[in-house]
């Protein structure tokens, strides 16, 4: 079943066209990787799914993005509701200046959840799902800043999951992490895809090959190729894709 369905998406920063006529569907409970050189539009495209680009003044969208069959840019859509459903993890870990517990509870609290017992329960679940519980269960009251970079990133993943989204967007989630932390995050992605639809932007081709079911290659604002990851990395259909994954440019 299609979770996300983008139809003829054009996107502009002022006069600059950042995305050119992109159409793709993403299956439910699968992992899709976006690859491509810097500035190719892959992050911009990702940020359309939870309307994060709304925060940037002077942008314009043409086309439709459907999640669960509903146009997320429709006037009837509440952006806050959408963002609860479509969680996001950023390039650099960005925990809030709060305790570990309050970081994970944040999404629930700002969405009006008051039940302390429920919040405790969700926080524990989210931390367990992010494979961080055992490392932090004895120090939930401590500052999130005291955690290592890799732990902080898993905390941010837990934070995103606490509000029970069905889609998880990851914008180069491991690019600021060391190899061991990266491996943990990748392992986590594997486990999470039984529950979530995951879209991940990455500069790391091996990472795309390891974690994703399908891969999309972006270049200069266009989606050059979108296919099964295995096919993209062994027998790509386009020469540009071939050149990029073999490191001839980018």
């Amino acid at each position: 079943m299609d979770k996300i369905d983008a139809k003829h998406v054009n996107f502009f920063y002022g006069d600059f066209q950042a995305l050119k006529d992109i159409s793709m569907t993403i299956e439910e409970k699968s992992v899709v990787a976006f690859i491509g050189p810097s500035g190719c539009g892959k992050s911009t495209f990702l940020r359309l799914f939870n309307r994060m680009n709304d925060l940037i003044p002077g942008t314009r969208l043409e086309g439709e993005i459907l999640i669960d069959g509903r146009d997320v840019y429709d006037k009837s859509v509440q952006v806050d509701e959408l963002r609860k459903q479509v969680g996001m993890v950023f390039q650099r870990p960005n925990p809030f200046p709060k305790s570990i517990f309050e970081n994970v509870a944040y999404g629930l609290r700002v969405n009006g959840v008051k039940d302390g017992e429920f919040i405790r329960h969700r926080v524990e679940e989210a931390l367990k799902a992010a494979a961080l519980w055992d490392e932090v269960k004895h120090k939930l009251k401590e500052s999130a800043f005291a955690l290592s970079g890799g732990q902080q990133q898993r905390l941010c993943i837990a934070r995103a999951m606490a509000v029970s989204p069905s889609v998880l967007l990851m914008d180069e989630p491991a690019s600021a992490l060391d190899p061991i932390s990266t491996a943990k995050v990748e392992e986590l992605i594997h486990e999470l895809k039984t529950e979530y639809t995951i879209v991940i932007v990455t500069h790391n081709m091996q990472q795309a090959a390891r974690v994703s079911d399908k891969t999309a290659f972006f270049y200069m604002g266009s989606m050059v190729e979108y296919d099964d990851t295995k096919k993209i990395f062994t027998n790509p259909g386009k020469e540009a894709t071939q050149n990029y994954i073999t490191g001839r440019f980018g």
């Binding site: 200046p97 969405n111 509000v163």
Partner: protein
């Protein structure tokens, strides 16, 4: 050969001119410290003999030629608290609006320019304006209320600027992280941005108050009393204040020889208050930045 291109003595000359240049730069910066210590030393030397428990806790007596400065200390604190009550909400809210809400463009630039101009107006002009608006037009009379509002106006630009700058220093990734969880702009500001910026905002406010505590001209027109036998009882009372008291005892009176030491004593008390205020600003900043991480 290389030696011909770079004459040997060049190295020595370069080192010497370096030494000379940075020697002069260094001298300039040390001389500032020296001047500060000279002022402090002079005031302490002249004033220390006068400052006693009695000086701090009694009212002036014998037509300003004796007694202490207690009412002036109390008045100065009232004025600082009053101007903080006014300047803090106005300044912080404006700063938040300008950095977080207002669309970037000519309007914000215009507001910022006007704010800076407001900060550049001489304090004596604030005094005159405060007299016209608060004392006369609004009918608050010569009072702590008029004085606080005038002093508050004076330091609002500083509070706006420090608020804006401390919020600007917070990376957007924190705002995005919060918005991505479904938080509104206001929730993001309240729960993430403000707690992170608060240490600097508070420090800016307290430093502004340090400046307020020493201002003389604005309260001259709006609040300060030459002499009051009792402490003020309401915000509509006049009060004494240290900077004005200092001016009074050193310029007008009947017996200069006995008044001048009192002036130095007053100056010492004023300087100590400013010093304590500034140090507490730093202590608070430290307290906040520890607290913010763990709460």
């Amino acid at each position: 050969m290389r030696q011909d291109i770079f004459p040997l003595q060049q190295g020595g000359r370069k080192r010497r001119s370096q030494w000379l240049a940075f020697g002069v730069f260094g001298l300039m910066s040390y001389s500032i410290v020296f001047i500060l210590f000279a002022i402090l030393g002079f005031i302490i030397y002249k004033g220390i003999g006068v400052v006693s428990w009695e000086f701090l806790t009694t009212a002036p007596a014998d037509g300003m030629t004796g007694g202490g400065v207690w009412p002036a200390i109390v008045g100065t604190f009232y004025l600082m608290a009053g101007s903080a009550l006014f300047a803090f909400p106005v300044g912080v809210m404006s700063g938040i609006y300008m950095n977080e809400y207002a669309p970037k463009g000519w309007l914000v630039r215009f507001i910022r320019m006007m704010t800076n101009n407001l900060g550049g107006i001489p304090s004596v002009v604030f005094g005159l304006f405060g007299m016209a608006l608060f004392v006369k037009y609004l009918g608050f009379g010569d009072s702590i209320l008029s004085g606080s509002l005038t002093l508050g106006l004076l330091c609002v630009p500083l509070v706006i600027r420090t608020t804006e700058e401390s919020l600007k220093a917070i990376p957007d990734s924190f705002r995005e992280g919060s918005r991505a969880l479904g938080a509104t702009k206001l929730q993001t500001i309240w729960h993430v941005v403000l707690p992170m910026g608060m240490p600097n905002v508070i420090t800016g406010l307290i430093l502004a108050l340090g400046r307020v505590s020493g201002e003389t001209a604005p309260i001259l027109f709006t609040c300060a009393a030459y002499f009051l036998p009792r402490l003020p009882r309401s915000v509509l009372d006049q009060c004494m204040a240290l900077p004005y008291h200092l001016y009074v005892v050193s310029t007008s009176g009947t017996d200069m020889d006995s008044q001048l030491p009192l002036a130095y004593g007053t100056a010492l008390v004023l300087i100590l208050i400013v010093l304590v205020v500034n140090l507490s600003a730093h202590a608070l900043r430290r307290y906040f930045s520890n607290k913010v991480k763990t709460n």
